[in-house]
Amino acid sequence: MQFMLLFSRQGKLRLQKWYVPLSDKEKKKITRELVQTVLARKPKMCSFLEWRDLKIVYKRYASLYFCCAIEDQDNELITLEIIHRYVELLDKYFGSVCELDIIFNFEKAYFILDEFLLGGEVQETSKKNVLKAIEQADLLQEEAKTPRSVLEEIGLT
């Protein structure tokens, strides 16, 4: 896989993960182009399209589009299920995930993705194993919690 993008129905980018080195400018260009192309497609259309020399696999979940770019030899259907498994992982972690969860906890969305996919390849397909890794990390966070100031508690800094 070359990259994965999550964006909303309104075209706002929610998450981007690049597995090939590209300049920021190029990334922005690709994002703009793809968001436009995918949003223009009708609901019943097929989930795959050729784009430049890549294959795009995308699927919409509620208000969010998940969009992956894979290479010529890669398998479209299994990529569709990569997307689905990622959605399941988010769902399990957040408990009925919604777009807001991903906006406010974008770092978690990245961590979960890193446990599932690495370097553009599936690293661990077991839902249990991925979530175990994330929960362990959360536990470490709890232990590390430090007391906060009153101002911080009400969100003023």
Binding site: K42, Q73, L77, I78, F94, L118, V122
Partner: protein, 965 residues
């Protein structure tokens, strides 16, 4: 606010995100962000040391701002501080920031690498995991330099945790992709292969990706992975759906791993060991059987996962291309999918069938689905699916169904989406030419193309129809009649005016007998379009008019009046003005004889690959289905290639006549001014550019066409006895990579060559120039093939005039057919009397095996796959030699292209190396050739490796090419 805030929520961050979301306008958002950036800057610069938590929070805010699409140019140092922390939560955010906002500041990278090194050595699996993720995410060369040696050790160490092994495998994969040269192969590779046997399916999943990528480039080293992959796959496909626990996905056992294993197997030919091969066939059969079973779940995830494995299995079956039974079963399965209610499956079935169509075992089976595919073209609502249907029709087309397919494509073109029209036009043009039995059908098809989609008909297409009409006299009358009729339409496309103008200018006389298309009517018809056309078309029409003056003297005055009018003679466009002036002058002063000579009918075009095909290939990119298909079809050679065999014997070809250029579409010879109408691959211009010098003799006396600058020193007059071949090896070798130039020169005689080759055929023009002022008598050049050479090379020559006047040049045509591969070169022996002496000399004629090369573009993957397939030691020939010329990459590239193979860019992982691919065409067989040239600048040496399916060919090509550098 989020419904759930797990772990260590950062309230300040959440508030900031809410603020941004509440901004009513883009301006408000930018204002809020700038305020926050100023705040964070001051915190980072402030005297008060920030605690880890605050740092983390601010770094997170920066990340968020960056992800909104704003540039962030600070915070890296704080992030590095965080990732060096011992607190997991800070470390994690630090790594995330660095992974997302990669920075090339070397000082920073040193610090990051240091922190990573510590984490890798920490033996804390969570920390190691984070560090490995960071390397995999950044994947820079600096990181490869620092860690490519270390990670394999972690990967194969006995005590490494499973999750760390998984990360290490994929981390190494990423580094190998970016910097293959920095990942050392070694003992670890064999241990990595054995990870395919690991107990932990997650480890196997990650390792399989790594092994696949490594095996693509180092097939030998990873060969043992084949049997391991087969047995692992076999265990998965035969397991019950509950056996694999959490690795079963919607009742499908380990679909991701299955797909990866099947992909790995596609790096290799079918297993040689019959047991392994049998087991694999069983697996593939099981997968095909399962597709027929009723689904275990109605969920789309179930069917997707199951079919993902099925499609990958079909890819492997196609890759092996060796089991007719499996291929036909695969085809039937895809046939079912063609009518499936899921659009996704229909799309994939069309795509996959395209590759099946190129296998000789399944081509016929694919053809049975033609009606379904045509129906898809008409009814699919999604353009990307229709595009696949067009591709498949193109792939399944052969002589039996060409008329139907072309008709359907033309039909579809009327309503096709603009985005794919040009491609359809190219495809129709190629099919119509390739499978034309009746060339009237071809002409009709192309004119229809212009009518329906004139704007999408590129120059290549209409140049080609003209070439074909000119080369085939049986269709010329029909073409003239058809264009004449088409031009009657009140509004016709400019491309039609171009084709019509050209064809009537050449062959209008063939229909002039009919009073309905008398010369004057033809002229008036064309001229009625003149004022609506662009400058290049008008220039072309002016050339047509001067040809009419020659063809139809009766309308000469009408045409002269037109040429003489102010709108022509004083045209603001210099090209048009010049043509008008010169043509008018020509028509006035030249006698009919001169006019007839100058405006002689166009000579046939040399045979060459259709440039339309080249254009389609370029459009689709190398290594596509089309490409593969071409190669396979060429191999099976039962198709009607674009070279018409008729032209082999076309020794009656007149030399490019002096008038050729005059009537050229672009280069205006009389003016020397106009650039070709199009600079992009303009075919006709291209045809003439080779022969620029041969066309030149408009100016008398300039027949010394071959005074090329690289001409070697003249040799002494030869009075050598016969049969000693002239030692002109150096000149001979020069011709290996080029086709035109001086072959031999001494004080008496100069021999020039011009040649062209297409597939297994070629034609060579030999020019003998008498450099003296005295006649040569009994001038007899003979081309001699040795007994060994004779069966392989068919040469036909015509005798030349035995008298060559002083200062004159005579020409001889050699028609060449390569029957099978050959080693030696034919000898050209020349005998004549000069003054009182008898002259006898022999030179090697540079007809070498590589002349019958057709370049083949392919992707890196295809290249290495084929490279592997030719791994038999007899197929490879290698030569290491000292550079004889300065080692200049550009010159080398030009030589490889001149040698005839395609130069494949970005295929070799080392950019300094050169790789090429092509097919040698002989009458009896076609031989695929791959070559790789590795320069060593320091040592001033080259290593050249040739791999072909035939030892003698590898040997000969290696010899020939080695002399070039």
């Amino acid at each position: 606010m989020p419904a759930v805030s797990k772990g260590d929520g950062m309230r300040g961050l959440a508030v900031f995100i809410s603020d941004i979301r509440n901004c009513k306008s883009k301006e408000a958002e930018i204002k809020r962000i700038n305020k926050e950036l100023a705040n964070i800057r001051s915190k980072f610069k402030g005297d008060k040391a920030l605690d880890g938590y605050s740092k983390k929070k601010y770094v997170c805010k920066l990340l968020f701002i960056f992800l909104l699409g704003h540039d962030i140019d600070f915070g890296h140092m704080e992030a590095v501080n965080l990732l060096s922390s011992n607190r997991y939560t800070e470390k994690q955010i630090g790594y995330l920031f660095i992974s997302v906002l990669v920075n090339s500041n070397s000082e920073l990278i040193r610090l990051i690498n240091n922190a990573i090194k510590n984490d890798l050595a920490s033996r804390n699996p969570t920390f190691m995991g984070l560090a490995l993720h960071c390397i995999a995410n950044v994947g820079s060369r600096e990181m490869a330099e620092a860690f490519a040696g270390e990670i394999p050790k972690i990967l194969v160490a006995g005590d490494t945790m499973d999750s760390v092994k998984q990360s290490a495998a994929l981390c190494l994969l990423r580094l190998y992709r970016t910097s293959p040269d920095l990942v050392p192969m070694g003992d670890w590779t064999s241990r990595v292969v054995h990870l395919l046997n690991d107990q932990h399916l997650g480890v196997v999943t990650a390792a399989t990706s790594l092994i696949t990528t490594l095996a693509q480039k180092n097939p030998e080293e990873f060969k043992t992975s084949v049997s391991l992959a087969v047995s692992r796959l076999s265990r998965i496909v035969t397991s019950a759906s509950t056996d694999l626990q959490d690795y079963t996905y919607y009742f499908v056992p380990a679909p991701w791993l299955s797909v990866k294993l099947l992909r790995l197997l596609q790096c290799y030919p079918p297993p040689e060991d019959p047991a392994v091969r049998g087991r694999l066939t069983e697996c593939l059969e099981t997968i095909l059987n399962k597709a027929q079973e009723p689904p275990k779940s109605k969920k789309v995830q179930h069917s997707n996962a199951k079919n993902a494995v099925l499609f990958e299995a079909i890819s492997l079956i196609i890759h092996h291309d060796s089991e007719p039974n499996l291929l036909v079963r695969a085809c039937n399965q895809l046939g079912q999918f063609l009518q499936h209610r899921e659009t996704n499956l229909r799309y994939l079935a069309l795509e996959s069938m395209c590759t099946l169509a190129s296998s000789e075992f399944s081509h016929e089976a694919v053809k049975t689905h033609i009606e379904t595919v045509i129906n898809a073209l008409k009814t699919e609502r999604d353009v990307s699916v229709r595009q696949r249907a067009v591709d498949l029709l193109y792939a399944m087309c052969d002589r039996s169904n060409a008329q139907q397919i072309v008709a359907e494509m033309l039909n579809y073109l009327e309503t096709a989406d603009y985005s794919i029209r040009e491609e359809i036009v190219l495809k129709v043009a190629i099919l119509a030419e390739k499978y034309a039995v009746d060339y009237t059908w071809y002409v009709d098809t192309i004119l229809n193309l212009i009518r329906i989609a004139g704007d999408y008909v590129s120059e290549e297409v209409w140049y080609r129809v003209i070439q074909i009409v000119i080369n085939r006299d049986d269709v010329q009358g029909y073409a003239a009649k058809t264009v004449f009729e088409a031009l009657q339409a009140p509004a016709c496309h400019e491309n039609l005016v171009k084709v019509g103008g050209y064809i009537l200018g050449e062959f209008g006389n063939l229909i002039a007998g009919d009073p309905r298309s008398s010369p004057l009517i033809q002229f008036n018809l064309l001229h009625s379009k003149f004022h609506l056309c662009s400058v290049p078309t008008r220039a072309l029409l002016l050339s047509t008019y001067i040809k009419f003056v020659n063809l139809f003297p009766e309308i000469k005055t009408t045409i002269q009046d037109v040429l003489r009018s102010d709108s022509q003679l004083k045209n603001a466009d210099v090209e048009l003005q010049q043509r008008a002036v010169e043509y008018l002058r020509l028509s006035t002063i030249a006698s009919t004889d001169i006019l007839a000579t100058v405006l002689e009918e166009m000579p046939p075009f040399p045979e060459r690959e259709s440039s339309i095909l080249a254009k389609l290939k370029k459009k689709k990119g190398p290594g596509t289905v089309t490409d593969l298909e071409e190669i396979k079809k060429e191999r099976s050679s039962d198709m009607n290639g674009s070279a018409e065999p008729a032209s082999v014997n076309a020794s009656a070809v007149s030399t490019p006549s002096p008038s050729a250029d005059l009537l050229g579409l672009g280069a205006a010879p009389l003016t020397n001014s106009a650039p070709p109408p199009s600079s992009s691959g303009s075919l006709l211009v291209d045809v003439f550019s080779d022969s620029a010098s041969a066309v030149a003799p408009l100016a008398p006396g300039s027949d010394d066409n071959f005074a090329s600058p690289d001409l070697a020193s003249s040799e002494v007059v030869s009075e050598e006895p016969a049969d000693t071949v002239h030692d002109a090896d150096e000149l001979f070798h020069k011709f290996v990579c080029k086709n035109n130039g001086v072959l031999f020169e001494n004080q008496l005689l100069q021999i020039g060559l011009k040649s062209e080759f297409r597939q297994n055929l070629g034609r060579m023009f030999i020019f003998y120039g008498n450099k003296t002022s005295t006649q040569f008598l009994n001038f007899t050049p003979t081309v001699i093939c040795s007994d060994d050479l004779q069966p392989s090379l068919n040469l036909q020559t015509k005798p030349v005039d035995p008298t060559v006047d002083g200062g004159a040049q005579v020409q001889q045509v050699v028609n060449i057919e390569c029957v099978s591969d050959f080693m030696e070169a034919p000898i050209l022996n020349i005998q004549f009397r000069y003054g009182g002496t008898f002259q006898n000399l022999s030179v090697k004629l540079p007809i070498t095996l590589n002349k019958f090369f057709q370049p083949t573009e392919m992707s890196s993957q295809d290249f290495f796959q084929r490279w592997k397939q030719l791994s038999n030691p007899k197929q490879e020939v290698q030569n290491i030699f000292k550079a004889k010329h300065p080692m200049d990459a550009e010159i080398t590239k030009a030589k490889i292209i001149g040698f005839g193979s395609a130069l494949l860019e970005e295929v070799d992982p080392n950019p300094a190396n050169f790789v090429g691919a092509g097919i040698i065409h002989t009458k009896t067989t076609q031989i695929g050739c791959l070559l790789r040239l590795e320069p060593n600048l320091q040592a001033q040496m080259y290593r050249l490796t040739l791999r072909t399916s035939k030892e003698a060919v590898s040997q000969r090509l290696c010899e020939l090419l080695s002399e070039q550098f």
